[in-house]
């Protein structure tokens, strides 16, 4: 009976719930997953048959992972995330990604980059659609080029023998990955919220 939890459909379902519930505090998310695991085990133990169809039926009755995550978030006191328009969200996410490319513009580049970073972080922290934990993670990722660009430049110059333009051109796209990852995570979480709560 223990193997019901290793069924591919069950695993995919539970990891989808886990992914969609990232805005929940960790302990609450683990509790939700434990409750769902127990439910699936019991429901399948009571099922007459134990094939893919009965697994599918049990999961269908449990409902959409996003809906369950939204219900769990709604139970959290206080800071309920409130969806914002996709245009507002896109502007915030663009501002989070552009500083590094913009910094390459001669003379005014660094100032524009600084302004975009400040604007992105202000919009991020003022937005009601993300929880504190998401904002903290995103802030670290957005600011990461401050550390990753020099570090990668050093690594590249050691590998390529000297701080060449090529070393810099390799370091910059690599460093932009982390802000882009932050923007993708925030964008997904915002889109989920719009889908389930608006």
């Amino acid at each position: 009976m223990n193997n019901t939890l290793t069924h591919p459909l069950v695993r995919a379902y539970l990891s989808s719930v886990e992914e969609q519930a990232t805005a929940l505090p960790g302990a609450r998310r683990q509790e939700l997953l434990a409750d769902l695991r127990e439910h699936i085990e019991v429901a399948l133990a009571e099922s007459d048959t134990l094939d893919d169809n009965s697994v599918r039926r049990v999961l269908e009755q449990l409902g959409a992972p996003g809906e369950i995550a939204a219900a769990a978030l709604a139970e959290e006191p206080g800071n309920h995330p409130v969806p914002q328009s996709s245009r507002h969200t896109s502007v915030t996410l663009c501002l989070a990604v552009v500083p590094l490319p913009v910094a390459l513009v001669p003379v005014i580049g660094p100032f524009l980059a600084l302004a975009a970073t400040v604007a992105a972080l202000v919009r991020l922290w003022k937005s009601p659609q993300w929880v504190r934990r998401e904002k903290r993670q995103a802030t670290l990722l957005v600011l990461s080029p401050v550390v990753t660009v020099p570090a990668l430049a050093v690594v590249c110059s050691v590998v390529l023998g000297g701080l060449t333009p090529i070393a810099l051109m390799t370091a910059l796209p690599a460093a932009v990955c982390l802000p882009v990852a932050a923007a993708i995570r925030l964008g997904r979480s915002a889109a989920r919220l719009r889908r389930h709560l608006s």
Binding site: M1, A12, Y13, S16, V17, R28, E31, L32, D35, L36, E38, H39, E41, V42, A43, L44, A45, E46, L59, E60, Q61, L62, G63, A64, P65, G66, E67, I68, A70, A71, A72, A74, E75
Partner: protein
């Protein structure tokens, strides 16, 4: 693929879901009045009544809050068939929350009917 698990059609209109929100926890407490029940049993019982039917998984966050706020208590009981079941019981606090709701409900229901019935408010 996984997102293909849809809401139960027909019973998930906005009005129905708003109404359910306020009363569902008292329906759960009422189901525990006559003795402990385990999660799957509780959800099956709720699903039997159409307006209370909702995606079962969305009830677990509610059950978790009832545990946390001390309105219910849980214990595991072995079963001959599969894993142990987590039984929910009504605590004294849960009992009095249910009594309070039960006392308030008739006048609440009458008040809503009063506004909804044509000619009643003139």
């Amino acid at each position: 693929m996984v997102d293909g698990y849809a809401s139960i059609p027909g019973v998930d209109g906005r009005v129905a879901s708003q109404l359910r929100k306020g009363v569902l926890e008292y329906c759960v407490l009422a189901l525990l009045r006559d003795g402990p029940r385990y999660g799957v049993e509780l959800l099956a019982e709720l699903a039997r009544v159409e307006v209370m039917a909702t995606s079962q998984g969305t009830i677990y966050p509610l059950l978790s809050r009832l545990r946390r706020t001390g309105l219910t208590d849980t214990h595991l009981r072995e079963s001959e068939n599969g894993p142990p079941r987590r039984y929910y019981t009504l605590t004294d606090a849960g009992q009095s929350a249910l009594e309070e709701f039960t006392a308030n409900w008739p006048s609440f229901r009458a008040a809503v009917d009063h506004f909804l019935t044509p000619g009643e408010t003139t």
